[in-house]
């Protein structure tokens, strides 16, 4: 019962087809009340279609969408207590900022005075009170974005949908808005469902993330789960940077998989369910969890040659060629350059990884 109560949106076996194209393939997920939930994936993965199905702009082909326990699949968008911040903001160009924000409150059956008071509060919340009488075209992109947010929040929806709302802003503003959105979600206590293709944005803001591709949810979990324990190759590759290496499992002893990497290099890592001896699988290890040294750091350190050093500000990215093996990328933080050195091109080095950094993946 409590569990039922906690679900703001319950998506059950939802299928959405556009002609022959399947945009959503049997998607099921539960979004909890008062959570910042992100749908993350590359373009065409179905995240926007799922969002539009929740908003009511798309009729699902099959399956059910529940809002706090009520099936809303047959309700038109104007009958759903869910509001959207659109990617292009979709502010009404002929109305003032104030009128834009009042619109939803009025259409919900409140009278003008109530709508005006509410809109005034929202303008204060997004710090745009002095622009109340302006037209949307007289505002900058960031300001328009905030108006769109205020307009969507004004009718006090139960769930707020955000369709890549920050994609049109420049980097600095985007970073600032990320924090602002996160703070606003916490203050209002409204469930936010955020759609983005930017994994960094997703990691920064979300309580939980659903990584999608090809119309399916690939993994659902907190930022740390998804980054550190990806379920499959797609998630590991899509979230952050990773070294994906093809390996063969030699034997499994006490929950540890002993693996063979090309060129005679050997690696040991935690066993993953469903991966048996002799199978060819992938190994994922994040560049920042690898380090270089001139002498072998441990038994499994792998001999390699530095072939590239790229300075990227916060750290240096080194690319090494394993002897008789694949290439790997290593990130060394700039502050640590003293102890964990970056080596000149052509230096013979050894690559070692932190304990537990390597993860075996299906596919």
């Amino acid at each position: 019962m409590t569990d039922q109560h906690q679900a703001a949106i319950d998506v059950r076996n939802v299928v959405k087809k556009f002609g022959n194209f399947t945009a959503l393939e049997n998607v099921s997920l539960t979004i909890r009340d008062n959570e910042f939930f992100t749908l993350l994936g590359p373009s065409g993965c179905g995240k926007t279609t799922l969002l539009r199905s929740i908003a009511g702009f798309e009729q699902v082909t099959d399956g059910e969408i529940q809002l706090f326990g009520d099936d809303i699949a047959d309700l038109p968008p104007n009958k759903r207590p869910i509001n959207t911040v659109f990617q292009n903001y979709a502010l009404f160009p002929h109305m003032s900022i104030l009128e834009n924000i009042m619109f939803g409150v009025e259409m919900r059956g409140n009278d003008k005075a109530v709508a005006r008071t509410r809109a005034g509060e929202m303008l204060e919340l997004v710090q745009l009170s002095q622009f109340a009488q302006r037209k949307p075209s007289q505002l900058s992109g960031g300001q328009q974005q905030r108006v769109a947010l205020a307009r969507a929040l004004a009718p006090q929806p139960r769930v707020l949908l955000l369709d890549e709302p920050l994609s049109a802003l420049d980097l600095k503003l985007r970073k600032a808005m990320q924090l602002e959105l996160k703070a606003m979600q916490r203050e209002t206590g409204i469930t936010f469902i955020f759609v983005t293709h930017d994994q960094e944005e997703a990691l920064t803001m979300s309580d939980r993330i659903a990584v999608m591709s090809d119309g399916k949810v690939q993994q659902l979990g907190g930022a740390r789960d998804i980054y550190e324990t990806p379920d499959n190759v797609f998630v590991a590759d899509f979230i952050g940077e990773t070294n994906l290496l093809k390996i063969t499992v030699d034997q499994i002893i006490d929950g540890r998989a002993h693996c063979q990497l090309g060129g005679g290099h050997k690696l040991t890592c935690n066993e993953v369910q469903g991966i048996g001896v002799g199978t060819q699988v992938h190994l994922s290890v994040r560049p920042e969890r690898l380090f270089l040294s001139t002498q072998p750091f441990e038994e499994e350190s792998m001999a390699a040659t530095v072939i590239e050093n790229i300075y990227v500000g916060t750290d240096v990215q080194s690319i090494v060629q394993l002897n008789d093996g694949p290439k790997m990328t290593i990130r060394t933080q700039n502050s640590e350059l003293g102890n964990k050195a970056v080596f000149d091109l052509g230096t013979n080095v050894f690559v070692s990884m932190e304990a537990g950094a390597a993860r075996l993946l299906h596919g």
């Binding site: 009511g56 968008p77 104007n78 509001n83 659109f86 619109f103 939803g104 307009r151 969507a152």
Partner: protein, 306 residues
């Protein structure tokens, strides 16, 4: 003034001169086809009439006097207001306004329908709208007269279906004039509205629906205000030519439903004509249309400021 927003001084001079030359053709067109004809008409309206058409070059206010005042058969009675022509004008405004409303009622949904089709088939729909206009207006109006008459195809068809027993008397009524005007000018309503709706960003409709607006509220509060310039253009393009139309009222409306266009036409046709009076009637029509448009546009800009 011209080129003021170009920073370089040298460029400004060169462009300014070049610009005037490039503007020459449009100035010429405006002069030859608008200023000169209106000027000729204005001059003629203040001349004395010749009995077999044409004018005598002598200043006279007689045409305007005849339009507004009734001085009896011999012109020696005290002046009363002449209602004959004012009534014709009033009827014309009324008919044109009605035709505009009908065209809008049918034209807007039509334009909306076309603009919301797939981008590939939209030109086909626009093309279909324009096809009837490849045939001359006179021929179309005469055909319409044939279709609408008491024993014409429309009535026979309705009688065949047993919808009606006696033929409907449509011809020589206001309804026939309305049908004629509506049919003649409908595309002028559809095309500008179509152009406006095509530019309309339909995510605004989604936003309205998302903010609890019903379909009607979306139309009323979001779509209509956004495409208003197209609607206004359409209304002007239907209203103005409807005011001066003479084919539809002449052929379909008969003598009772006389409109300005027919009145003016008669003054220049045959021996009975009165050129200065025709010119004066035209000037009055021109002035009236200008006043209506000016009042309209002033109200528009006031509404926009509010």
């Amino acid at each position: 003034m011209a080129g003021a927003n170009i920073k370089s001084g040298i460029a400004t001079d060169t462009y300014a001169k070049e610009r005037y030359w490039l503007l020459l053709p449009s100035w010429a067109v405006l002069l030859i086809f608008i200023v000169v004809p209106v000027a000729i008409m204005m001059v003629y309206s203040f001349l004395t009439k010749e009995f077999r058409g044409g004018v005598i070059w002598e200043f006279s206010m007689a045409a305007y006097d005849q339009f507004f005042f009734d001085r009896g058969l011999f012109g020696d009675e005290p002046a009363k207001i002449e209602w004959t022509y004012l009534n014709i004008y009033w009827r014309s405004i009324w008919q044109a306004g009605l035709a505009t409303i009908f065209s809008l009622a049918i034209g807007f949904p039509t334009a909306y329908f076309i603009a919301t089709r797939d981008a590939k088939v939209r030109p086909i729909w626009v093309f279909l709208i324009t096809i009837p206009y490849w045939v001359n207006l006179l021929i179309r109006t005469v055909s319409m007269k044939f279709l609408l008459r008491d024993n014409g195809p429309l009535n026979s068809f309705l009688q065949m279906l047993e919808v009606i027993e006696e033929p409907l008397h449509i011809i020589n009524t206001n309804l026939a004039v309305q049908l004629g005007l509506f049919y003649s000018y409908l595309p002028f309503m559809v095309l500008p509205i179509y152009a406006a709706i095509e530019r309309y960003n339909f995510s605004l409709s989604e936003a309205a629906a998302d903010l609890y607006a019903s379909k009607w509220q979306t139309l009323r509060y979001v779509i209509l205000p956004t495409v208003k310039p197209g609607v206004i253009a359409g209304c002007i393009l239907v209203f103005v030519p409807s005011m001066g139309a003479f084919l539809a009222p002449d052929l379909l409306g008969g003598a009772k439903n006389f409109m300005i266009g027919s009145l003016i036409e008669e003054q220049f046709k045959g021996n009975a004509g009165n050129w200065p009076f025709g010119a004066a009637a035209s000037m009055i029509l021109l002035t009236m249309v200008l006043i209506i448009l000016m009042v309209f546009s002033r109200q528009q800009s006031k509404a926009q400021e509010a």
